[in-house]
């Protein structure tokens, strides 16, 4: 479970501080960039053809969460609500708010994530109260919450932001590091499928393409390779480039699981792209005809 079983590089369990080891992982390792020479147009055509054959009745957004749910190891029963229409919740908000908080700290060259998150929540609430947010959007929702409920949101986001902030030696990443706004997506309209890969931090590197870091809950599982590969796949298949992130394809995708202290770095090569495309196809096929579509 330290990463070797998942065909990637992890961090030495004895390495302390972990932030130095994770930063080494982001900056080191060659990676292939540009998909390791894979025929990306051919891969896109093949994947789209396969997805179309599933004949989904509704649109599907393939995310890391969906991969974990459908392809991951069986999980102990939990009374979580089944997949349903999106609803705002502290868990749904923590990443969005937490990323803004960490970005503030990075831009300021320091600071405390909890303070930055407090400022972010206050800004969003003010936006919502001024009617600047779209109906149903995050600022609008936050502006409806009373203080105790806002405290839960802030607590979730502050914990999330602190985990990310303390995971990395930020000064080593340089001034061009991008926090948030780096998610990648590729859409296959005919198949009614959108592939979305989360990227929390995009790290330009002196040689080769950038490294993409994603922070994930729990611990690595057998599906983590494909989950990390989603952003690389979406970028490689010609999805929209990250905002302000230039057009370079990632050379490396790195997962960080703060709850378990594990990391996994995968070079973006043909094997990863093809494996991830296969996982996407399996998920979509398994969802055809189920009520999971359009969730």
């Amino acid at each position: 479970m330290s990463g070797q079983g998942l065909c990637g590089r992890g961090i030495d369990p004895q390495a302390l501080p972990r932030s130095a080891a994770l930063t080494d992982l982001l900056l080191g390792g060659a990676g292939h960039g540009a998909g390791g020479g894979v025929d990306r147009e051919g891969l896109a055509r093949e994947l789209e053809r396969h997805l179309c054959s599933a004949r989904l009745p509704q649109r599907v957004r393939v995310t890391g969460y969906l991969l974990r749910t459908v392809l991951g190891p069986p999980r102990p029963p939990t009374p979580w609500r089944p997949l349903g229409p999106f609803r705002w919740s502290p868990a749904a908000v923590r990443r969005a708010v937490g990323l803004r908080g960490v970005r503030s700290c990075v831009e300021a060259g320091g600071g405390a994530p909890a303070t930055a998150v407090r400022g972010t929540v206050e800004e969003l609430v003010a936006e919502g109260r001024r009617g600047l947010g779209r109906p149903g959007g995050l600022p609008t929702w936050l502006s409806t919450l009373a203080t105790p409920a806002l405290a839960v949101v802030e607590a979730e986001a502050a914990t999330w932001a602190t985990q990310l902030w303390s995971a990395i030696e930020w000064p080593r990443l340089g001034a061009d590091v991008q926090v948030g706004d780096a998610d990648a997506a590729w859409v296959a309209p005919a198949a009614r499928v959108r592939v979305s890969g989360r990227v929390d931090v995009r790290v330009p590197r002196p040689v080769g393409g950038p490294a993409l870091l994603t922070m994930l809950p729990g611990h690595p599982t057998v599906v983590s390779r494909a989950e990390l590969g989603l952003a690389a796949l979406a970028a490689a298949l010609g999805g929209r480039p990250p905002r302000g992130g230039g057009g370079a394809l990632p050379a490396l995708v790195v997962g960080w699981w703060p709850e378990s202290g594990r990391a996994l770095a995968l070079p973006v090569d043909g094997a990863l792209l093809e494996e991830t495309a296969g996982a996407v196809a399996r998920v979509v096929t398994s969802m055809a005809g189920t009520s999971l579509a359009d969730r």
Binding site: P74, R75, P148, A149, E259
Partner: protein
């Protein structure tokens, strides 16, 4: 900082290897590939909240009180204030994962029981507000700090949640402090809980916490341990016994303990 223990870099790996060895056989008995999840309540065998897929939650009054007090504690850490303790706690809990079910139970309580609960939660909220100083953001406070340590190839997962974690991740010296908030009375088993928290933190962070505390707002009392190697070894023994018991007795059908 000077009083904090230097980190033994081999300790975490040694504990993991020990657990992997001891749990391999028991983990093999768990059916269906479903990971056997261990948390502090399963160590005691009497979880306050038991969830089983497709069945309603069974939530005790004590569990409801615990959940309400913890969400209040979280609010206090984040905002530095509590206005109407019981109402604040219910409002906060309604938005939390799992919280809706607890709020429903609270709402369905007979008036006398609800009044008692309100009184207890209010007293706890007032006590916490008096006891807890404002925490500097530079201490990196993390509320509801979760840990998850997969063992035996992922067949067993140790989970733990601290009400509050403070301090930078460890470097040369142990630097993280964990706090567990308990709404009820101090019990002997809470010492085992602290050791378990310390063990899971050590497995995940690569270094033990410098201090683990249980805070009892009802009494304004704090029990603290600076975990030793013996404490961690004791926690390993407890975990192994619990996993062997659960794997042998109930396998994958065992209820899953939550909260």
């Amino acid at each position: 900082m000077a009083g904090r223990s230097p980190v033994d870099r081999g300790l975490s790996g040694g504990l993991r290897a020990w657990l992997d060895d001891e749990l391999a056989e028991a983990a093999g008995k768990a059916a269906g590939g479903t990971p056997l999840v261990v948390d502090r309540w399963s160590l005691h065998g009497t979880p306050p909240v038991v969830a089983d897929l497709g069945r309603p939650l069974a939530i005790t009054g004590a569990a409801a009180r615990q959940a309400l007090v913890r969400v209040l504690f979280r609010q206090l850490v984040v905002t530095g204030r509590i206005d109407q303790p019981f109402d604040d706690a219910v409002a906060g809990l309604r938005l939390s994962a799992w919280g809706g079910a607890v709020v429903d139970v609270v709402a369905s309580l007979p008036p006398a029981a609800r009044a008692t609960l309100r009184r207890e939660v209010t007293a706890a909220g007032r006590a916490m507000a008096a006891d807890l100083p404002a925490l500097p953001p530079s201490w990196l406070p993390r509320t509801t700090a979760r840990r998850s340590a997969p063992l035996a190839g992922g067949a067993v997962v140790l989970r733990a949640t601290a009400s509050l974690a403070l301090g930078q991740p460890a470097d040369e010296r142990a630097s993280v402090c964990l706090v567990d908030v308990r709404a009820g009375e101090p019990l002997d088993e809470h010492r085992h809980d602290r050791r378990y928290l310390a063990l899971v933190e050590t497995l995940c962070a690569g270094a033990p916490p410098c201090r683990v505390a249980t805070y009892y707002p009802r009494h304004g009392h704090l029990e603290t341990d600076d975990p030793t190697d013996e404490d961690l070894a004791s926690a390993v023994t407890t975990v192994v016994a619990a996993v062997r018991g659960r794997a042998g007795a109930t396998g994958a059908e065992a209820p899953v303990v939550v909260m």
